[in-house]
């Protein structure tokens, strides 16, 4: 009896297993490129990888609960949170978290500010939060700004914005090219062709 057919079958099975292994490995590598549904991930250990997860893949300090993502500091205190009616996406290659139709809130004691924007991107390495399209920045009563782009500097927690900055300040309608809202020192800095016009 010839062993040729058994060898061929064994080789075939090994080839199929090898291909399956490669496909599985490729899917694993692109696991975080796809959708990241907030309800599917909960990292209560502040970014420490869960058992079985590969180290460094998850944004450190980010906690996802339901439709909300919370950024916490090393002591576990909430720094900011963002809510979205849609979904958040985490891109492994660019190490960035993105979301759409976001409502973002700064939560640092007396430092409060909120941003509503159509798009948000969080740089995991830099900690910088960027916003674009249809931005409304609110930094307390009577301090609501409309602008095109904004970013929040980690550490200083200043909101830096640009692109058609508009502000209704008392009886004045204020326009400027750029805006910096310093939530620590409670200051607003408008630059570039600043114009206050009585409404």
């Amino acid at each position: 009896m010839s062993r040729g057919p058994f060898v061929r079958i064994a080789v075939g099975v090994a080839a199929v297993l090898m291909i399956a292994t490669i496909i599985y490995a490729l899917r694993g590598a692109s696991r975080y490129r796809g959708r990241l549904r907030p309800t599917e991930y909960r990292y209560g250990d502040l970014g420490q990888p869960k058992s079985g997860a590969k180290s460094g893949r998850l944004p450190a300090g980010l906690e996802v609960t339901g439709p909300e993502i919370t950024k916490r500091d090393e002591k576990g205190n909430a720094v900011w949170s963002a809510r979205s009616p849609a979904e958040f996406r985490f891109d492994e290659a660019s190490r960035s978290l993105t979301g759409s139709n976001i409502v973002w809130e700064l939560k640092r004691g007396s430092q409060t500010a909120s941003i509503a924007a159509k798009r948000m991107e969080v740089g995991v390495e830099s900690g910088e939060v960027r916003f674009a399209d249809g931005i409304t920045l609110t930094a307390g009563k009577a301090r609501q700004f409309a602008l095109g782009r904004a970013r929040v500097e980690p550490g200083t927690w200043k909101v830096v914005g640009e692109g058609g900055v508009r502000w209704a300040w008392g009886r004045f309608s204020v326009t400027a090219n750029t805006l910096v809202v310093d939530t620590v020192n409670k200051r607003i800095c408008l630059r570039g062709d600043v114009h206050l016009a009585q409404q």
Partner: protein, 190 residues
């Protein structure tokens, strides 16, 4: 033909009242206005104190029964959110203030004032005070040969936009007046 009047520099600090309405015996009008436009390169607002610091070719335009504008490299504004008002402006020199009056009689005066040190302006009182080498030129509009004009120099100058009054201290005045239409109110009071 014009008549030139020159007055020496006041020895003591005196107030020199000059009516800009020009009509003899006319009562001083109380006019109203407000800041309607402010231009600057940079504005920093301290939202705890309500103080705004404006820098870079600051221009403040005031409208009412007159047109006025103030320019300075730096202006500090104190605001009141409750009263929805700019309480006061403090400009760092050199400061210029240009005013074009509009009287019911249709006669207009242009006052171009400047100072080297600083100036303050209150939106409530509509009074601007210019300090340090204050200089003003008042000209009847339109600028015709027979219209009045005057130049004033002083240490401090007060521009009252409600009452159409210029007040100088340590003043020197050089005036040219049309002989057929002298204004008894235009002159110096020592």
């Amino acid at each position: 033909m014009k008549r030139a009047v020159a007055l020496g520099t006041a020895v003591a600090s005196v107030a020199l009242l000059v009516s800009l309405t020009g009509a003899p015996g006319q009562k001083l009008q109380v006019l109203h206005g407000s800041i309607v436009d402010i231009y600057a390169a940079e504005v920093v607002v301290d939202w705890m104190t309500g103080v705004a610091t404006l820098t870079g070719k600051v221009r403040v335009e005031i409208k009412g029964d007159y047109d006025a504008n103030m320019t300075a490299p730096k202006v500090t504004a104190t605001t009141s959110q409750e009263k929805n008002q700019v309480l006061s402006l403090e400009a760092q020199g050199p400061v210029t203030i240009d005013v074009v009056t509009k009287t019911p009689e249709g006669k207009q005066w242009r006052v171009s004032a400047r100072c080297s040190d600083s100036a303050t302006f209150s939106e409530q009182t509509m009074i601007a005070v210019l300090k340090g080498n204050a200089h003003a030129e008042a000209t009847g509009l339109p600028r015709l040969e027979e219209m009045e004009s005057a130049e004033y120099d002083g240490d401090t100058m007060t521009v009252d936009l409600k009452k159409h009054l210029l007040t100088f201290t340590q003043a020197h005045i050089n005036a040219e007046m049309a002989p057929q239409a002298p204004s008894p109110e235009a002159g110096a009071k020592h």
